[in-house]
Symmetry: C4
Subunit: 312 residues, 4 copies
């Protein structure tokens, strides 16, 4: 896909529109998510629920599963209780509370299709509800299988970006530089990066979006770290700007990264944005050593990615 | 994929052929589905059934599951009944009807692998059928897992198109304009739109299909709303047409949209068509405000997408 | 993907090599499968087994599941029998044969996690084997879920090609024509077709592979039928050939089709080849009527796809 | 995707950087994996665990499942033991050890939702833990389903590369040649190969990466074997080099292969690298015969792929 062309477009159509924005708005959050709050999109549907269950934290997911399990059992226990404890063989204890608890555990044994059988439905009404509950249990479990598979197989590029973006010497001129590396043990191949700068035009007051040409915008393997360089030559919209200019124009540098996960041949995307507060002038990234290890593999410590030194 | 090129082709090959059509035919339904009825394609096969179960309404799916469950249990209960109730230990009640009901619930407990065990098969014949029923239950459940996963993970762009297409002022000339927005909380990235116009050529009487060049046909994020503009300049096949001309030529504007769902990196398609009855002349879309919310996120209310005002 | 370019390459690299072939060899079977028998590729591995189970006929799959179920139960029943029937509570009947049958059904109830419980393991050895068998049952069932999902979700273009390829009048010249249509209720979009001709060069005796330029090689929707035309002009390698020439040169016309299934956004491929015996000279396809049906949908009967008439 | 362009780039950006490397480093292992050891990438997360379980050997996976099963049962048996054996009905034997074993098997019957029921929880505490254990069992099993499906459906090109890379006569000049073939019964279509050479520049001492133009770099079917040829003409960075030069410059020839699995329409990648020790000068691959078999299919024995003969 030739979507990522790094030709300098005077006017890039990124989708945020060319209008007057509040100076403090950030388009991409530091984690790469789009900083948007869409309302009025109608009620939740299945797709939204699946989306949420697939992307929520593990803690949220486990909470939903356990609470859902407890609640469904409570509902069925209530139905069984209304039908009457005398409709169940082998029920433990006596008294309404004991019966309710027994029916609660009977429900759990039915929903999971465990079915010890020391308790069992006797009447047709009880048997019918139990038959329905076990079907519901199987279907819920089928859904859970899909959600867990969706969570694990979801394409994700767990990319590490340097904490800062630097203005560094680059040949005879200066360059805007940041680094990225793959944090995971799988390989990312066919990698492409695109950089877009967004700023308030001091003349029109409107937001501009310009593509920034890069020294290299495509590599075959993200095996080591990748230092991405935009030459700050006369054609750059950032040419000659000082840190103060970056702040005044509310510059946001948007990074779009795209690659293929080699294990599953999935296309993965990653994003990052840098604002003026993350810019360091006149500094240089510390090279990351790649010595062979004892098995003669190239060894790289990705935690060094953020390191830089100020130049005098 | 460079499939969506918006160069104006005199003659676009969209797949509906260039022939005389009944004036009232609509190629795309308003929901984007193709308005075709294909017959003679032979019997149903597995793929059709999976396709239907994956795309049918949730109500239909649940009905099929519950009715199928009731029916399969009825069939197995009948088989057990023919084998004879005396082949089952712990059977409740007496009389044929009570036995049938008991065997029905025994079947449900076997199909779901619940197996309380207060009823159990004694003879070889009964045990064999029960062993087969539990295998069938597991396989049906495996299928249900696949179908539910297929339903939820299916690529879908839940896109909102403006109810109308407008002829609005556009610089010094006029433009054909409509708007679209993403209704969901996931992001759509790498968005492309193609617009094709279909009309009866008054000279030949045949149907023509022309591509319409757009002001912008690709954006990186569908974060806010997107107003798509076809300039009605002299090169446009719609240049100078009035609403009456649109009706006489039975104009249908076909919209093809393509993007990537950022959560699952799935390619999604969406389609819409507008006919003359949905065209508003001399009107303007009301701009949608995008104020930052309390968390400093850009806030957009997508229900405003349809709003426009008539120009005097 | 710009893989399908229909420029006439003097020498297309299709992967069958340019050498002397036995005249009677066919490269693609009529159903589109490649007519190759690869040997010496080492033992079967997991991928092969999954591939076979995903692509074999439904009859084969069901046979494998039922026979595998019967066999695994037989093996576990044998192990339980060796451990001794006295290790199981509630065992039915007496005598070795009755015990073996009881243990066989006990195995089935364990493998499917049905667990009625009227029979149950008593000793540690019996309990351990049963615990292992139920784990094996769950894992086999997990595999079956994957295989069934793989079978149903597999991208497949169930395309109908006309039985014959015709030499028909085409404007002032002749054209090589065949038709194709989608047999299923889902839509195929972004369709591309490539046609390659393979023949024995009478001068060198070697096999040649040439691309054939098409009148239209890309359409947006395969909604109706699609007649694909290669103009038999002077630039065509088939220019002026008679049916006898086609036979002598052992011409094989290879069709490669590629599209996107609109429901699942899957890329699908389809292939077909025509040999001289399927060529009809001086004939014309009967147009397929597409009248609107009662719901005003365009109606097409795809069984008419094969119909043609001889020209005098 | 036009990622694989075989134009000779003076300086290919492969992602390993142009710096001084230890002479003995190999970038790609012979099996195609990238020879990198990334450290410091933070703790394991879900994605890593899923990745490992999907790519580890079958032996490792089975070990993890069985040990995990044994361990979880041990933990739950311990909890049940602490709650007290008197909370369970039908418990076998007497004495702490017998009780622990019984509770262990009870745990297995609960985790797999087998639930024979000759043992069953009586008190609320015991029932609650059992209800939780059966839920955990279902969820673990849902995960296992996803992992097994992920393992089997993972895109994989099981490609066979010739053991050696040869310098062979090629027309009037020499060519660098190797062969590859598909080992499996599914077809690989739309195949592309890219060859990159990496060597120490004797002048700068730095590592260079150059693309090598190929005679043919794209074929439609990998039906037979494919001999890939880089012409060693004056434009080649390897022009005129002897085996001794290859060794001194530590030449590594990197092969990147990309295709589509025709059964699942999955993109698959394969890689290989050759070092000087695998280079044979002045040799020729033995042609692989492709005779039609009894069913008139082209027959090829892929084990012949490695065969070559030295030229005098």
């Amino acid at each position: 896909m030739a979507i990522f062309s790094n030709k300098k477009n005077e006017d890039i159509e990124i989708g945020f529109g060319k209008k007057k924005y509040n100076n403090s708005v950030r388009f991409l959050n530091p984690d790469g998510s789009v900083n948007i709050n869409r309302t009025g999109s109608g009620g939740l549907n299945n797709i939204d629920i699946f989306h949420w269950l697939t992307t929520c934290s593990l803690f949220h997911l486990i909470s939903v599963i356990i609470l859902g399990y407890a609640l469904v059992n409570f509902l069925f226990a209530s139905v069984y209780f209304i039908i009457g404890a005398e409709n169940f063989g082998g029920i433990d204890g006596s008294g309404a509370i004991n019966h309710f608890f027994s029916l609660y555990f009977f429900s759990a044994q039915t929903l999971t299709t465990l079915g010890y059988g020391h308790m069992y439905p006797v009447s047709h009404a009880a048997s019918t509800v139990a038959a329905f509950e076990s079907l519901l249990g199987l279907m819920s479990f089928a859904l859970a299988t899909g959600i867990l598979y969706g969570r694990f197989s979801r394409p994700k590029a767990d990319l590490l970006f340097s904490n800062n973006i630097l203005i560094s010497p680059y040949g005879d001129i200066k360059g805007l530089m940041f680094r990225l590396a793959n944090q995971k043990q799988y390989e990312l191949i066919e990698c492409e990066t695109r950089v877009i700068v967004s700023y308030n035009d001091p003349e029109t007051g409107k937001r501009e979006f310009d593509g920034l040409p890069l020294e290299v915008d495509k590599i075959n393997f993200l095996a080591l770290s990748w230092t991405i360089v935009h030459p700050l030559n006369e054609e750059s919209p950032l040419y000659g700007l000082t840190l103060k200019d970056y702040e005044e124009r509310d510059v946001e540098v948007l990074i779009l990264f795209k690659a293929t996960n080699d294990t599953f041949t999935q296309t993965v995307f990653s994003r990052r944005s840098y604002k003026a507060s993350e810019l360091i002038e006149n500094a240089k990234f510390t090279p990351i050593k790649t010595e062979p290890d004892e098995k003669n593999r190239l060894k790289i410590d990705v935690t060094k990615l953020h390191e830089y030194s100020k130049l005098s």
